[in-house]
Symmetry: C2
Subunit: 146 residues, 2 copies
């Protein structure tokens, strides 16, 4: 029987997570409900640390909670092959690459906008001008960010 020693504050410090975030993960079923003390306070064990660290690391790598949920469920069936885990990671990599590409197009456009340093009045301001008229843009087919 593993030790059930940690308070939620300990778990938070141990994993670099904020306390409300831990309760949030529990509410959405990402962390199992822990035991409670006589006074109704949550008591965690080492297995919770591991699971939460896994989640946080997934978040650090930009995975969404749904992806993390699936990756967690995969670890519960270790007889499976890597196939699904690799697919999830590869899909995420593709999304990250897409976002980088879109942000780089944005960066170029913003730099172009700022290149024309105008010290004059706002009526001649390049920034405002570009915003007011889409035709000033190189690529008018931006996709929404985020």
């Amino acid at each position: 029987m593993p030790s059930k020693n940690f308070t939620i504050g300990h778990l938070a410090r141990e994993t670099g997570t904020k306390v409300p975030t831990i309760r949030y993960y529990e509410k959405i079923g990402l962390l199992p409900e822990p035991f409670r003390s006589a006074g109704n306070q949550r008591l965690y064990g080492a297995d919770h640390i591991d699971r939460l660290a896994f989640i946080r690391h997934g978040r650090d790598l930009g995975f969404g909670l749904d992806a993390i949920r699936e990756l967690l469920s995969l670890t519960d069936e270790p007889e499976q092959t890597c196939e699904r885990a690799d697919a999830i990671a590869a899909q995420h990599l593709r999304e990250v690459e897409n976002r980088i590409a879109r942000l780089q197009a944005l960066k170029a456009e913003l730099e172009r906008m700022l290149d024309h340093q105008c010290d004059g009045e706002l009526a001649d301001c390049r920034v405002i001008e570009v915003l007011a008229d889409h035709r000033h843009c190189l690529h008018s087919d931006h996709q929404r960010i985020d």
Copy 2:
């Protein structure tokens, strides 16, 4: 007196915006309340098209609605210098650059994770392994994305 001819659907098509988004912009005070028809339907004029196009273009370039709100208010006082508009755009450019840098670190980490193609069982899966143990990462000091 300018013509007040367009329905909200026209304005939406004209600017590539969804109808509920236009109503949302009105609610948060980004678009002025338009005239209404006898039957209470919104009627827009050319000035609304310009203003909405400005907003959408700002969004395409990744500006937040607060930044756009300020840029719009600048255009109402054209005797101002470009200084503030340039500062807003420069600040946004810096944020975009930061996001690109963070995403590129992420991309490298994900590629490293997927490099080790494992056809074996999930117990040996590199993806899971890395997620389960932060020490597998090159940089353990990721900042949260978004």
